[in-house]
Symmetry: C2
Subunit: 147 residues, 2 copies
């Protein structure tokens, strides 16, 4: 049975969050960014490191996205995450790559560490905390942009 694109995205997202949890990182999913884009996963580590993961459910999904580099304003490391059947050669070699299904995931190529500057990291940490806490309370107003 063919799965829909949202189903594949949800499964890959779940697998990636499990993986990141093993890396002791806390994930928020489906974020709206201040630059007008959406991001599938932003994860926060013990030392304040931020990893962004963008899920590509299909080749077409990947091809329509020409501006993924803008995610670098939001993270120290950026990864694409794709399902098992995705042709991995399509993903640019300079980007991190995670392959996942809903049960598990693996980092098949590490991501470069760009290192956010301190002021930018502080802003993102504030936004991350406020967004997660707002969602916890079911607070739509607080389900804001990550600036």
């Amino acid at each position: 049975m063919t799965r829909s694109r949202p189903e594949i995205t949800a499964e890959v997202t779940e697998g990636v969050c499990r993986l990141l949890h093993h890396h002791n990182m806390a994930c928020i999913t489906e974020l709206r960014l201040g630059n007008g884009r959406r991001l599938d996963i932003l994860a926060l580590g013990l030392k304040g490191e931020l990893w962004a993961v963008e899920v590509k459910s299909s080749v077409e999904d990947f091809r329509v996205d020409a501006k993924w580099q803008t995610y670098r304003d939001y993270c120290d490391r950026f990864f694409f995450a794709v399902p098992m059947e995705f042709p991995r050669d399509l993903i640019p070699e300079e980007e991190g790559l995670i392959v996942a299904d809903r049960f598990e995931a693996a980092i098949v190529r590490p991501a470069e560490d760009f290192k956010l500057n301190a002021a930018r990291r502080k802003k993102l940490l504030i936004d991350f905390g406020r967004l997660a806490a707002g969602r916890l309370r079911g607070d739509v107003k607080m389900d804001m942009l990550i600036s």
Copy 2:
């Protein structure tokens, strides 16, 4: 009908969170702190300011707490929050005071601004975000101490 202490605490907590929401602060409730204490509310503002609120449901509840000053390691501002019927004169004059029921709350005395240092604030922002995100995913392991 007499309400139980946990009921009063829950009502005051709800009122305080509504108030803080009007101040555009995002709240997490019932936190465990690294110093072994618990804290009822920690709220995070747009600029990274952290306000801690400790609910005292009754005079006895207040009297058994001789060490509230230790909360200052976790916030820029510290408030006690009490129900309407609580004798407000008991609360030390140098501490902020919020009076609340479950529907509304008011800051009847502002709190001094201690200003956390930058390194401490960063650590708390990280912990706040990880705790909220962990709870969002129902992740017990991530329901950790605020260090």
